[in-house]
Amino acid sequence: MNREHIISVLYDLTMVIGGEVSLKPLLTRTLQRLLYHTSFPTGLAFLDMKDDGGATLSVRVDAAVGDFELAESIGKPLTLPAGLVRGGPELLEDPALFATLPCSRNAYRVGVRLPIDHCGVILLLAPQQPHTELPLTQVFQPVLANLAKAILLCRRNDAYTAGLVAERDVVKEELADSMARLQRALLGTIQAIATTVEKRDPYTAGHQQRTARLVSAIARKLAWQEERIEGLRLGAMIHDIGKIYVPAEILSRPGVLTNAEFRIIKAHPQVGYDIVKDVEFPWPVANMILQHHERLDGSGYPQGLTADTICPEARILAVADVIEAMSSHRPYRPAIGMNAGLKEIEAQKGRLFEPDVVEACVRVVTEDGFSFDA
């Protein structure tokens, strides 16, 4: 080994030290590189040693590479003999010193102590002296002076980053609170709209809430994510908002509707859509309202959409809407019942209604005992 070789080793270590901005990777990478260069299998770094000049020192293991037992001591306080960790760079050949380390007895017989300029110390450990052509106790000292400065900078950076993280967490918490308040306000508004609609139509009072309960149960059966289910539930709670446009006497009049009256009724999805389309919901609420009377075969209204062009939320809402309607009393007919409703949607499975949704709805009722009365 000549001067050029030594310089190349120091250059390599310097580049590694200069490449890290956080303390933990700095110490780990430096130890890795020292082991790489020296063939010592194990390296330890201790910082912030408390030295009162006694026979032992209180230390904390800040990094350990190459020994799984010593690695388990990272962050833990240790009391070690002063001869092991105090003093200048030195080749240590006293197995009794190494026996004080929390690892297998007799694991190490040779060590090199490399102090880090008033910052701490690095120990390289081996069962026997690895071959070396360099005076290890001297050659690394210039680099370790750099390491001391890098430790200082990394600590400042870690503290700064920790401050930013804490600040970010506070902002995140405030944002979450704000979101929760908005959510509550939105729910209140939606509930108020739903109540307004149903006040005008006593025969369908509670229809939207009951439908909302069923769509939620179906979506859970289909393993939808809770956040998406919440959007579906809110859409269901106001899916008939367009009926606000329908005169109350048409809504509540017993008997068969005239064609003109039915045309007015059929306009309610489009009216509902127009009312909410400019509200920025995080879910496709407007489309749910617009499409809840669409059917897979294109026979629905108002657009005559087919299959995949109908949004998944509307496909669930369509099924739940029919089941709820058939289960409830209407001015023009008595309640038909849940079982008849299930038979109807099964009969139309694949033609009018999404097969997966129908199957999930049937299981919700028959297996889970769903009831609108519960």
């Binding site: 063939s39 299998p41 590479v65 690895p130 071959h131 052509e133």
Partner: protein
């Protein structure tokens, strides 16, 4: 343990392999096998898998440029190495690439491996990588961080000597590429690695590197420098076609403080004139250019024999497993490389020596040293069916 846990099959035939498995199963019902194949026999993998499946013998294996048998290089046949009891093995295909993928990849590999680590018995993590995996060195760093001294480390790179992608690692049902085959040998004392390349006095700085590529040497395009050296030293014109043939004589060395250099043999030229090595060249590393390095075969063999004896006691009459770098053979020449093999066999007193030409070697020059990825090295261990 029977007399020998390794057998060289000069021809790969279902009957021959089946008879061997039946013979071994008689004394080792829980056995498994590691099969080493030369590149020319790569199409035999399905046959080997079928025979092993028929006899219900777990199999893993790898394809190398050539095999080593009776201290000679063989391009035909197969080595069948027995595990007396099939150990934990894991075959990973298409390892994720890029520096940010290394830590999570190793994290998941180690999570699967850890439950299989024995308590107490010395254990070796034997790794066979596809030579197309570009970051073996970084993967070893991460493995050592997580497993530390729980295991000893050895391994080699498989693949084609042409450095063309080739599925080269297999188990009982798959043949994969860009992956790694892991085997947990226990009890096993580890391996010894050496290359005998000396450190030249003159340093030449690789002034720009990136991963496995050397972009510049002495602030000049890397290939220009190569061409000049080859012209001056051998009077030959190096071009893209003959590059590997000559570059093995001009490897680069990364100097370490213990005086043992890490050799990197450039294996191809990139479009931009940079040199592509099997094995990472650390960013901004200062390199030596090993101009026609003198390889100290005598001391290499002595250190291997002494190291193996220190690990295992006497080697007389026992079997060895050896991986030797394909680039080393090219540099030494077939005749000198064969003499090296013969010297190892004779000086160790081993009964048999199974092995393969590899495209990179993993190990340490000392018993418990930091595991490194080398080129141009020999790595050897005892093989007794553990």
């Amino acid at each position: 343990m029977s007399a020998s846990a390794m057998r060289y099959l000069p021809h790969i035939e279902a009957t021959l392999l089946g008879e061997l498995l039946v013979e071994w199963q008689g004394s080792h019902p829980g056995m498994g096998v590691l099969v080493l194949l030369p590149e020319a026999e790569k199409d035999s993998v399905p046959l080997i898998q079928a025979v092993c499946d028929k006899h219900r013998v777990p199999v893993v294996g790898a394809v190398f440029p050539a095999l080593i048998a009776e201290a000679e290089f063989r391009s035909r046949g197969a080595w069948v190495l027995r595990f007396d009891t099939m150990p934990y093995t894991a075959l990973y295909a298409d390892l994720p690439r890029g520096p940010e993928a290394v830590a999570p990849t190793v994290e998941s590999i180690v999570a699967e491996l850890k439950p299989h680590l024995p308590n107490g018995d010395p254990t070796t993590l034997f790794m066979l990588f596809d030579a197309m995996v570009p970051d073996v060195g970084s993967l070893l760093d991460e493995l050592y961080l997580r497993l530390a001294n729980r295991v000893r480390y050895m391994g080699a790179n498989a693949g084609s000597e042409s450095f063309q992608p080739m599925p080269c690692l297999f188990d009982g049902s798959r043949v994969v590429e860009r992956g790694v085959l892991l085997m947990l040998l226990t009890p096993h004392q580890g391996a010894i690695l050496d290359h005998g390349y000396g450190v030249p006095p003159k340093m030449t700085a690789a002034t720009s590197t990136e991963g496995n590529r050397i972009l510049q040497i002495d602030w000049r395009p890397a290939f220009e420098v190569y061409q000049e050296l080859a012209r001056a030293q051998y009077g030959v014109e190096v071009n893209r076609d003959n590059f590997y043939e000559y570059a093995v004589h001009f490897p680069v060395g990364i100097v370490r403080a213990n005086g043992v250099i890490l050799v990197r043999i450039p294996v191809s030229l990139e479009e931009d004139g940079s040199l592509f090595c099997v094995g990472e060249v650390p960013p901004n590393s200062m390199l030596t250019l090993l101009e026609a390095p003198a390889v100290d075969s005598v001391h290499t063999i002595k250190r291997l024999v002494d190291g193996l004896a220190e690990l295992n006691g006497t080697l007389a009459g026992r079997d060895l497993l050896l991986f030797g770098c394909a680039g080393r053979r090219m540099h030494l020449g077939v005749e000198a490389a064969s003499r090296e093999l013969q010297a190892l066999l004779e000086q160790s007193g081993a009964a048999q020596m199974a092995g393969a030409l590899s495209l990179g070697e993993i190990g340490s020059t000392t018993q418990w040293g930091y595991p490194l990825f080398h080129n141009a090295a020999l790595v050897a261990c005892q093989w007794d069916g553990a």
